[in-house]
């Protein structure tokens, strides 16, 4: 029994790792294509049909590039920082139910690595740890632009974790559980029972904070766009830099799953249609990340802080208060 459980868990972990590493690569392809189409370009076209093999070409390039550790960097920290980013992104996936449970060869499979009863808390915590990737990378790089970007990134991450936590508190009060499975069961009654309708403010706040947590475009302050420098990843090359990338894209996928499960009903009643629905919602949220990148400019760091502490946090606190009063 114990052995079977162990083997099952290891298989799940490997499958999730492989699928989401591949999805991170394909995500870069979709990002390039969608951005290109929105800017009336064609995007990658020459490698493979419709440029589909561009991902493979990029992978080969990243793996075979020279691995440079520049002079004056703190080598050990420098080397471990990208691993932290990628690892925390994948660790957060442990508590996410990707699909409803299904039967495979007469064996019931739950597509969640660890159905812990504090799933949301765990995900938020691991995302908080994910901050150490950019922060340590910037501090160890011996490059003042990397350091600036890391400082900005840390400020943004820490500020917006407040928004994430506060905005999610009201739905948690309604559901009475921190497990994503319980959230899904709470909304199993179809579209009308989605938490989106009872907590629209929390949904919007969490969505906004998701952009800051993943460092995507309206809040893409971890790259020094105004100095035309990449930010904390400036000194990285080859697969170390690729790990940052995989971490970012895996994070985008996982946060899309979390939003869909928390607010949009997840996989619903667990039918095949529900599973497809979950994948559709995730695809929409992932597409929205790319869509905003084509449409919106970045905000200034001070505007971002202003938005966080003077607008979003009061709204989140008010939302909790009102929810509590209504629930009483």
């Amino acid at each position: 029994m114990e052995m079977a459980y162990l083997i099952e868990t290891v298989i799940k972990i490997v499958v999730i790792l492989l699928i989401f590493s591949a999805l991170a690569g394909i995500g870069t392809y979709f990002e390039r294509k969608v951005l290109a189409f929105m800017q009336r370009r064609l995007g990658p076209m020459n490698v493979g049909p419709f440029g589909l093999l561009q991902v493979a070409a990029d992978g080969v390039k990243l793996f075979t590039k020279e691995d440079i550790v520049p002079a004056n960097v703190v080598a050990r920290v420098f080397k471990i920082a990208p691993v932290i980013t990628a690892a925390t992104a994948f660790m957060a996936a442990a508590a996410i139910p990707f699909l409803p449970s299904f039967t495979l060869f007469g064996y019931e499979v739950h597509p969640i690595v660890a159905d812990i009863n504090i799933g949301i808390l765990y995900i938020l915590g691991i995302m908080g740890v994910g901050l150490y990737g950019p922060l340590l990378a910037g501090m160890a790089s011996a490059n003042k632009f990397s350091l600036l970007s890391a400082a900005r990134g840390a400020a943004v991450f820490i500020s917006y974790e407040v928004i994430t936590g506060l905005s999610i508190l009201a739905p948690i009060m309604m559901v009475g559980s921190l497990s994503l499975i319980d959230f899904n069961a709470y909304q199993a009654g179809g579209i009308t029972s989605w938490i989106l309708w009872s907590q629209p403010v929390a949904f919007v706040l969490f969505w906004i904070a998701a952009f800051a947590e993943t460092g995507r475009t309206p809040f893409h302050l971890i790259a020094n766009d105004h100095e035309i420098i990449d930010g904390f990843g400036t000194e990285y090359s080859g697969m170390r830099w690729g790990l940052f990338f995989i971490g970012e894209y895996a994070n985008m996928f996982f946060i899309s799953f979390v939003i869909s499960i928390l607010f949009l009903g997840g996989y619903g009643d667990g039918s095949f249609l529900g599973a497809l629905g979950l994948l559709g919602k995730v695809a929409f949220f992932f597409f929205f990340f790319l869509w905003t990148r084509a449409a919106w400019p970045d905000v200034r760091p001070d505007q971002l802080m202003w938005l966080c502490w003077k607008v979003l946090m009061p709204i989140a606190v008010l939302n909790i208060l009102i929810t509590a009063i209504v629930m009483m």
């Binding site: 189409f37 929105m38 370009r41 449409a295």
Partner: protein, 211 residues
Amino acid sequence: MHIEHIDEHFNNRNVTEMNSDYYLVGIEDYPTDNWGRFKRVIKRSFRGELFVGLWVVMREMIRFDIHTVKYPEEKMPIGPRYRAIHQMKRLWESDTERCIGCGLCEKICISNCIRIETKLDASSRKEVSEYSINLGRCIFCGYCAEVCPELAITHGGEYENASDQREHFTMYQDMLTPLDMMRAGTQLEFEGFGSITPHEDERVKKTPLAY
């Protein structure tokens, strides 16, 4: 030629006229008190400009009006006055080379990239024995084509002359119009820098040298 470009439409840039194409953007005064600033925040937050931006890029994606030129397969048309790699023309009547070896192009070349050597041939006519242009130095200014009295050296439209070495010479024989092109009558006259204007022969009554 391109006379029709002269009556091109210009924007009326006079902002003081009522019916000009330009207008002043209405910019409100900045709010000075906190209540005004708060109202501005509310107005900006709920005006929905973010969704306008989203709609614009989505519209372009759905319309799928791609402007990319897939360069090696597709090429943009270039203008007739484009100054790319030089060409040496032949006379229409006799297929002989137009170049008389006067050396003016070598003399005027400001980057010193043209090298011409001449000798007298069997019938005591001047003949070009060596002619080369160092394309690594040529700045494609067009002076050589302009100064040429015989319309012999002109510019062509061949612009794909990337090379793996800096000194990339082009020789006289490579620039010269091939004889089979002359027989097919496909030699193109250059319309650009230094060429004569069309119908010039109707306007010139008498050759200045016909004394």
